[in-house]
């Protein structure tokens, strides 16, 4: 079967999922909804088929599984958001349309994506500028003590970090393509460990600085970990030096420990993470209530879940039982309703997508393409790890989105651009010579 036909076949699971999901919500609340709701599903599928035809024409050799996996994730997310709040699902669908427009634009404009290298310094400064935007007075927004969004009049909240992560990967991939050879030469061995010359730690210091900057400026451990991990992955693949990784992780841990004990908000998040069921923290404002209830929601789900639409999200006659169910906490809602099996299926879908991204990196014929694909895939994987890890208490809870699944316009748009870049890399890599 040809690649593009496989892609079209891959859209079948997505279509089944979206149809079954919307039908499920529809049956549940048939008294409250009109059948207009079912048309959401049809429109969504129409958009996916449209995107498929576009890929078929412009990128005939690109990986056939990437886009269907994205469609599965997005349709799953749309149904979950619809179940939580139907108006937000409509917003999300609109953002998906805008995202697809940018997806198409990216593919058309950067058909030869290697020209991105020419703008690498522009891109890096833009990205760093985007990162600190939320701290600029009047436009920045604080949520739960972290600065992750800015307010755009008429559009609502916008999370610049979602775009900055792509920009920083492009910069680092391009920078290391030039310097990776220098970085691996001139090494010494000390106590059996290969130590590169001090000056070669430059790039590492830069990404460490970025990570610490994020922690200080955005006050968010999760975002910091995602950026640092993603960039460190690129550095590791470029140089093959485990020592970079070991020293890098040690430096990060040191920085995180220092900032974790000295920035009150970060410290509070760490305390909530370590003692979510401490009644003092549980009842404190911005305390561990959300973390603890994320855990309670998961335990209510068990193996099979309580059933779609069955989990309690609000206290009858009271406030939210699970704050931010459609954004930070969507993984907890999924586990509560679909159980361990549902969550495992979701994680597996993400893992398959990441695997396709790494596959594109392996097949790529030039180091910029390889490093770009590695960075984007690693960043994507770490974003999933950071938010799901926060909800499941592997790491402190932070406010990044679950790509394509949780509610949020910037996330959907930015991640569709990320997918467009991966498809571009993949198409070039698999094009017959």
């Amino acid at each position: 079967m040809r690649a593009r036909n496989r892609e079209l076949m891959g859209l079948i699971p997505a279509s089944l999922l979206v149809t079954a999901g919307f039908a499920g919500v529809f049956i549940q609340r048939s008294n409250a909804l009109s059948n207009v709701s079912l048309t959401y599903g049809a429109i969504f599928l129409g958009l996916c088929v449209g995107a498929h035809i576009f890929i078929r024409i412009t990128l005939p050799h690109a990986d056939p599984y990437m886009f269907p996996l994205v469609a599965v994730l997005a349709s799953f997310g749309l149904v979950m958001i619809y179940r939580i709040d139907s108006t937000q699902a409509r917003d999300q669908a609109q953002w998906f349309v805008i995202g697809l427009i940018l997806f198409v634009a990216t593919i058309v404009v950067f058909r030869d994506y290697r020209k991105l290298e020419r703008y690498r310094y522009t891109i890096v400064f833009l990205s760093l500028g985007l990162l600190i935007l939320p701290r600029i007075p009047h436009i920045g927004e604080q949520a739960n003590g972290a600065y992750l969004a800015i307010h755009v009049p008429g559009l609502g909240a916008f999370q610049p970090a979602e775009f900055a992560k792509i920009g920083l990967v492009i910069f680092l991939a391009s920078y290391l393509r030039d310097t990776r050879q220098i970085l691996v030469t001139g090494t010494r061995r000390f106590l059996g460990i290969t130590i590169p010359p001090i000056k070669h730690f430059g790039p590492m210091l830069v990404i460490w600085g970025i990570a610490m900057l994020i922690m200080i400026v955005l006050r968010d451990i999760g975002s910091s970990l995602m950026f640092y991990g993603g960039l460190l992955a690129v550095l590791y693949v470029a140089t093959g030096r485990i020592s970079f990784v070991v020293i890098g992780l040690f430096a990060f841990a040191l920085g995180a420990w220092y900032l974790g004990t000295h920035i009150s908000h970060v410290h509070a998040r760490v305390e909530d993470w370590l003692h979510p069921f401490d009644p003092r923290l549980y009842h404190a404002p911005l305390g561990s209530y959300q973390s603890a209830n994320a855990i309670f929601a998961q335990s209510a789900g068990g193996l099979f879940g309580q059933g779609f639409g069955q989990a309690a999200l609000t206290i009858p006659g009271g406030g939210p039982l699970l704050p931010a169910p459609q954004t930070d906490m969507i993984y907890a809602v999924i586990t509560a309703e679909l159980g361990l099996f549902g969550s495992a299926a979701l994680l597996l879908t993400y893992l398959l997508f990441v695997a396709r991204g790494f596959k594109a990196a392996v097949l790529a014929r030039d180091s910029f393409s390889t490093l770009l694909a590695v960075g984007l895939s690693a960043m994507f994987a770490l974003q999933v790890f950071v938010i799901v890890g926060g909800v499941t208490r592997v790491i402190p809870l932070t406010g990044v989105t679950l790509p394509f699944v949780s509610y949020g316009g910037s996330s959907v748009v930015a991640n569709l651009v990320l997918v467009a870049l991966l498809l571009l890399v993949s198409d070039r890599a698999r094009r017959p010579a």
């Binding site: 590791y236 693949v237 335990s299 099979f304 069955q310 392996v362 592997v394």
Partner: protein, 475 residues
């Protein structure tokens, strides 16, 4: 660079596996402790949405049902309120508080959601629990309340052949539609039938007689000297009115409740044998009832110097006085009904139970409570000999007030002295079963306090009224 990418993917797999391990930890491994975490409001909120099943009397009278409340939730009402508050209890889902059958039959009333039904549960509306049919008899329960006439006290009746609880009523009761706050000063949810501490007095002589005859040490015609006073454990013990009866048979001693004879019998039977028979009747153990564990007490002798129960068979027990229902012995009314039940059923003690069957919303019986044997307390021959002795009590002894005319009753009175020395406060009790030749009901009536009243004059008439209703029902 391919090797590095492969290793990197390995790291991603490990990280995702970590996510799955933690999800498993919360959903499966720690689930039950998390669901019971006092901070977790989720279980309570889920309960508010469940339409709990009804609790019904044996004849189908509704004792508890769910009615719709705002926000798609349900609340409980109890149509007969105080009359059945003790066996039925209450459930306030919003506070997570429950008592009685509402608590102990909670999983039936909520309807158990198994893994598979939760998958398909999404196709059905909110879950509905199962109905619990009890063994309780509404008419007899009403009669018990009426016969107590406002006095503090307990009435409990069993079917000796099955252990089915027919009547469970105690004063004071409470309004389970508006229960008092748990632990508050006005908390009267205390169920005397299963939690009360009564001095059994002479009703305990049924146990002593059983141990004496079944162990082979005595027969109903054994003659013992009923002089008064005698010395028991170094302290003088007198009969009622210090009457010296002289040599009498065990049957006569039962008929007229002669203390000094039974104290000697208990001492001669000995502590190990007495303890063994008490255990067979259910003493020294928590009551074996389908009822919340924290609302079930143990009947046993208490050490007045330490304020703690004696260990079973302790050499510090005054076994002679225990043999006449004194010596620190405190019992629940249900325990004494079990004593009567064991004698009535040929020596076989059936486990008491309140639940008869569980029926789902489609009318299908999903669970039936089958009668189970708690213990074989005595030989059938002993049972029939003790029965004859208890019949004499009602025919010509202290229990004549319970005579039913045409139906023979076997019973035993008890009148424990309570309060300070010199006061005439008593705790009248009556334990019986009927008809004596083919028992259908075993009953225990215990009145908290009387001003000089006797078991035969205060408790026996109450038992008579309830027995009449239950025996008329049976025909």
């Amino acid at each position: 660079m391919s090797a590095q990418i492969a290793r990197l993917f390995g790291v991603v797999v490990v990280l995702f596996a970590l996510l799955l391990v933690f999800t498993t930890r919360w959903t499966v491994i720690d689930a039950s402790s998390l669901n019971n975490n006092p901070l977790n409001a989720r279980t309570l909120i889920d309960e508010l949405h469940i339409k709990r099943g009804r609790i019904l009397a044996a004849d189908g009278t509704v004792l508890a049902k769910s009615v719709p409340a705002p926000d798609d939730t349900w609340t409980r009402t109890y149509p007969l309120g105080r009359l059945f508050a003790q066996p039925v209890g209450y459930s306030i889902a919003a506070k997570g508080e429950a008592a009685g059958l509402e608590e102990s039959a909670g999983s039936d009333l909520r309807g158990v959601q198994t893994g598979l039904s939760s998958i398909f549960g999404q196709l059905s509306p909110r879950p509905v629990g199962d109905d619990v049919y009890t063994t309780l008899d509404v008419k007899a329960q009403r009669e018990a309340k009426q016969a107590l006439a406002g006095q503090d006290g307990s009435v409990v009746a069993l079917d000796p052949s099955t252990g089915a609880v027919k009547v469970m009523y105690a004063n004071p009761s409470y309004d389970n539609n508006n229960p008092p706050t748990k632990g508050s000063a006005t908390d009267s949810t205390f169920n005397r039938v299963t939690q009360g501490s009564y001095a059994p007095g002479s009703t305990f002589k049924i146990v002593t007689a059983t141990a004496a005859i079944d162990s082979g040490k005595y027969t109903p015609t054994s003659v013992i000297n009923g002089k008064s006073p005698i010395t028991v454990s170094g302290v003088p013990l007198a009969n009622d009115g210090d009457k010296s009866w002289g040599p009498q048979t065990l049957t006569t001693a039962m008929t007229y409740s002669i203390n000094t004879i039974f104290a000697q019998v208990a001492e001669h039977v000995g502590r190990p044998t007495m303890t063994d028979y008490m255990k067979r009747f259910g003493f020294y153990s928590k009551l074996p009832l389908d009822y919340p564990s924290n609302e079930l007490n143990v009947s046993q002798p208490w050490d007045s110097t330490t304020g703690k129960p004696f260990p079973p068979g302790s050499p510090d027990e005054d076994i002679g006085r225990i043999g006449i229902g004194e010596g620190g012995l405190l019992v629940t009314p249900l325990q004494m009904a079990m004593v009567a039940s064991a004698v009535a059923d040929g020596g076989k003690l059936m486990t008491p139970h309140l639940t008869d069957r569980v029926v789902n919303t489609d009318g299908v019986t999903v669970r039936t409570v089958n009668p189970t044997v708690y213990s074989q307390v005595m030989k059938p021959s002993t049972a029939s000999e003790v029965t004859q002795m208890m019949e004499k009590v009602v025919e010509e002894g202290t229990g004549t007030a319970v005579q039913l005319g045409g139906i023979s009753v076997a019973g035993k009175t008890g009148t424990a002295q309570i309060g300070p020395n010199g006061s005439n406060l008593t705790q009248p009790a009556f334990v019986a079963f009927a008809p004596a030749d083919h028992p259908k009901v075993a009953i225990a009536v215990m009145v908290d306090q009387s001003n000089g009243g006797f078991g035969g004059s205060v408790a026996a008439p109450i038992a008579k009224d309830v027995l009449q209703v239950l025996l008329a029902d049976g025909q």
